[in-house]
């Protein structure tokens, strides 16, 4: 008897997988339409929301310092995305906000309360973990009801909230299932459901989509976004995927090596990166960086690429001969044959809408995106000219952006 039970569960699970044949479509229709369906938003009483503020937060594990003084402010109702390469301390920071990790120094405020010494359960937060952390021995309903039961909410209230959350997330028919009987996407929704039934002041997400396949990830991205539009709960979302950050965030916080490199609205970071790291991290394909040198001539200042091409600059205070890094986004090159930087074509990838050209300029690999359908042979030479006014200059040593005004920008 005990032998047949797991077998039966497995069979049912397989059936579910099969029935989900067109998983993304079916599921998105049910949940995609719901956010607009409930006008009152199901939140009942409008609750106080909260800002999250980190002041000079540091974290050390023994001797090794992982977070070196981070200042971040997330406003009430804002959707903030912490983004950065693997190991830069995003999860650590999030776990410190949640209270799962002690703070070595600094202050964390939720609302206007310093929560440094407040245990996680009293911080009025909810967290969605990367691998969902659903309780395997509880049904979906019990998973979602767990926190409410611990809080001693009345039965009808629990029932109502869980059902409401299940409706919003399209989980209605799965309430009696166990986590192992759900697909990855459904588990992800249960994890979200568990967070929203509590109507907390702050949502914390730690790479919640990274275990999903690409298509589902895009769909869930929209759903989380819609959910936020609807609930307007302050959220801190961790990811290492800059596209996720760009598409979801009200504000992006770019982290690297335990420091905040820059924070701001997505397009602000894209248009005005503060340093080489942010410039290279935000945008896909990444920005190209070319070594350059500053030259002062009687007519003014210019940045010289290779030995030939000079880009006129204005308002640059650096001395003659300073080493610079010139940043150009792949779509900001003009391909010509006369003037410009000589580039050797390494490969061409047409994607239909546009063409990606990989080439080498002065020994540096460069990616170019063009709307035209070029047919360059690998090994051939082309000429590239950066679009006037679309280049970024960085200090070659420190990587900081050098504020310039291109005279041709008008």
């Amino acid at each position: 008897m005990a032998v047949s039970l797991p077998g039966a569960l497995l069979a049912r699970w397989c059936l579910v997988r099969l029935r989900r044949g067109e998983p993304a479509g079916g599921a998105s229709n049910s949940s995609g339409s719901t956010p607009r369906a409930g006008p009152e938003g199901g939140r009942g009483a409008r609750r106080s929301m909260a800002s999250v503020e980190l002041r000079q937060v540091r974290k050390q594990y023994g001797q090794t310092s992982v977070i070196h003084g981070v200042d971040v402010g997330v406003r009430d109702g804002e959707f903030a995305v912490l983004v950065g390469p693997s190991g830069c301390g995003k999860s650590t920071l999030l776990r410190m906000i949640a209270g799962l990790e002690e703070i070595s120094s600094g202050e964390i405020l939720i609302g206007d309360r310093v929560v440094n010494r407040v245990p996680p359960k009293d911080r009025d937060i909810a967290m969605v973990f990367q691998n969902y952390a659903l309780y395997p021995h509880m049904s979906v309903f019990d998973n979602m009801a767990f926190s409410l039961r611990l809080a001693g909410r009345p039965r009808e209230d629990i029932q109502r909230r869980v059902e409401e959350a299940a409706r919003v997330l399209g989980l209605g028919e799965y309430l009696q299932r166990y986590p192992r009987q759900l697909s990855g996407g459904q588990r992800q929704r249960v994890a979200m459901g568990r967070a929203i039934v509590r109507a907390p002041q702050v949502f914390l997400f730690d790479e919640p989509l990274s275990n999903l396949d690409a298509r589902l990830r895009v769909q869930m991205r929209t759903e989380i976004r819609e959910l936020h539009q609807r609930l307007r709960t302050t959220s801190v979302y961790v990811t290492h995927d800059q596209i996720e950050a760009m598409t979801m965030a009200d504000r992006i916080v770019v982290m690297n090596l335990g420091r905040v490199e820059q924070s701001g609205a997505p397009l602000e970071l894209y248009d005005e990166p503060a340093n080489v790291f942010v410039a290279g991290f935000i945008g896909s394909p990444a920005m190209n960086f070319l070594p350059a040198r500053l030259r002062r001539t009687p007519d003014g200042v210019e940045a010289v690429l290779g030995d030939a091409l000079g880009l006129p600059l204005e308002g640059c205070e650096l001395p003659d001969g300073s080493a610079l890094t010139l940043g150009v986004r792949p779509e900001h090159f003009v391909i010509g044959s006369g003037a410009g930087l000589p580039a050797q074509v390494l490969g061409v990838e047409p994607t239909g809408a546009d063409t990606q050209i990989f080439c080498r300029v002065c020994g540096t690999p460069v990616t170019v995106i063009s709307r035209e359908r070029h047919r360059f042979e690998p090994g051939g030479m082309i000429r590239l000219t950066p679009l006037p006014g679309k280049t970024y200059l960085f200090d070659a040593a420190g990587g900081q952006r050098i504020p310039t005004r291109d005279p041709r920008r008008g």
Partner: protein, 287 residues
């Protein structure tokens, strides 16, 4: 149907399977089950047949329940059984309760010295009971519980707790940290996490620790022999040996009947929980 010439068919061919599977299995079974067979046969043989020099020793001609009758009505066997059951159940539950708390604390509370403590627990398990029984005898004597069942109920946990703790530590380790962190955020206290999250997930581990503890205390011989002398306080293993062997007279039939009945509860227990038991020994929470 001839053996087909498709490549994998040799795996299915009967002679091959007989050699690689059934023969070893049969040998194994015979070796394992023969003592039981011998026990059953002997307990059913009338004394005359038992002691006869001729006749087939592997078969019983005129089975009788006389030995069982003797055991149940002429000796304190039912009493021993009851004692054994009491001692085993109580010391198992005591040990489990203590081990759950110890294992959880060592594994998850990240306190100072928890690793050293874990290693000490393991070392405690390695100390053989044959060394410990002398000091333990002195202790039980001073506690005034010498020659009572309490002497066993108190001393069995000395080897059960280290074992169960060690086993449960391994099991708790396989439960993802994140579940606990999630519960912590959901508002659970440590105690609630233990009761509502960890224990339900560790049921297979608890069952295997429980079975193991129960078996160990059910079969325990040394402490039971040294700490107990009154017949009405004895356990089955000790009672059978001390009261059914008179000088150099072995009451083989009754001995075997006693051993057989004594091993039944454990066998039933195993049969009942065998799947959980295996799952527990191999560890790993699914998902």
């Amino acid at each position: 149907m001839s053996a087909t010439d498709d490549g994998m068919s040799y795996l299915q061919s009967l002679p091959r399977r007989v050699v690689t599977l059934y023969v070893p299995l049969a040998v194994f079974l015979i070796v394992l089950l023969f003592p039981f067979y011998w026990m059953v046969i002997t307990s059913l043989k009338p004394d005359a047949e038992l002691l006869a020099a001729d006749g087939n020793p592997f078969w019983v001609v005129a089975p009788t329940l006389a030995h069982f009758r003797k055991l149940l009505f002429d000796t304190a066997y039912p009493r021993w059984m009851w004692n054994t059951l009491q001692v085993s159940v109580i010391s198992t539950f005591l040990s489990l309760a203590a081990s759950v708390l110890a294992a959880y604390a060592i594994e998850r509370l990240r306190m100072r010295g928890s690793r050293t403590l874990g290693i000490c627990v393991f070392l405690a398990y390695l100390v053989p009971p044959s060394i410990l029984f002398i000091p333990l005898a002195a202790i039980t004597f001073q506690l005034g519980i010498f020659d009572t069942r309490f002497a066993l109920i108190v001393t069995y946990p000395t080897f059960l707790i280290p074992f169960c703790t060690w086993l449960l530590m391994g099991y708790f380790r396989s439960i993802p940290f994140e579940l606990e962190e999630c519960a912590l955020i959901d508002g659970a206290s440590r105690w609630q996490i233990l009761v509502k999250i960890i224990l339900p997930l560790a049921v297979p581990g608890l069952i295997s620790a429980g079975i193991f503890a129960f078996t160990l205390s059910w079969n325990e011989f040394l402490y039971a022999l040294t700490f107990i002398s009154a017949s009405e306080n004895k356990t089955v293993p000790v009672g059978v040996i001390t009261e059914l062997v008179e000088g150099d007279v072995y009451h083989w039939g009754a001995l075997m009947a006693g051993a057989l009945m004594g091993s039944l509860p454990v066998a039933v227990l195993y049969a009942f929980f065998v799947e959980h038991y295996v799952a527990g020994m191999t560890g790993a929470v699914k998902e």
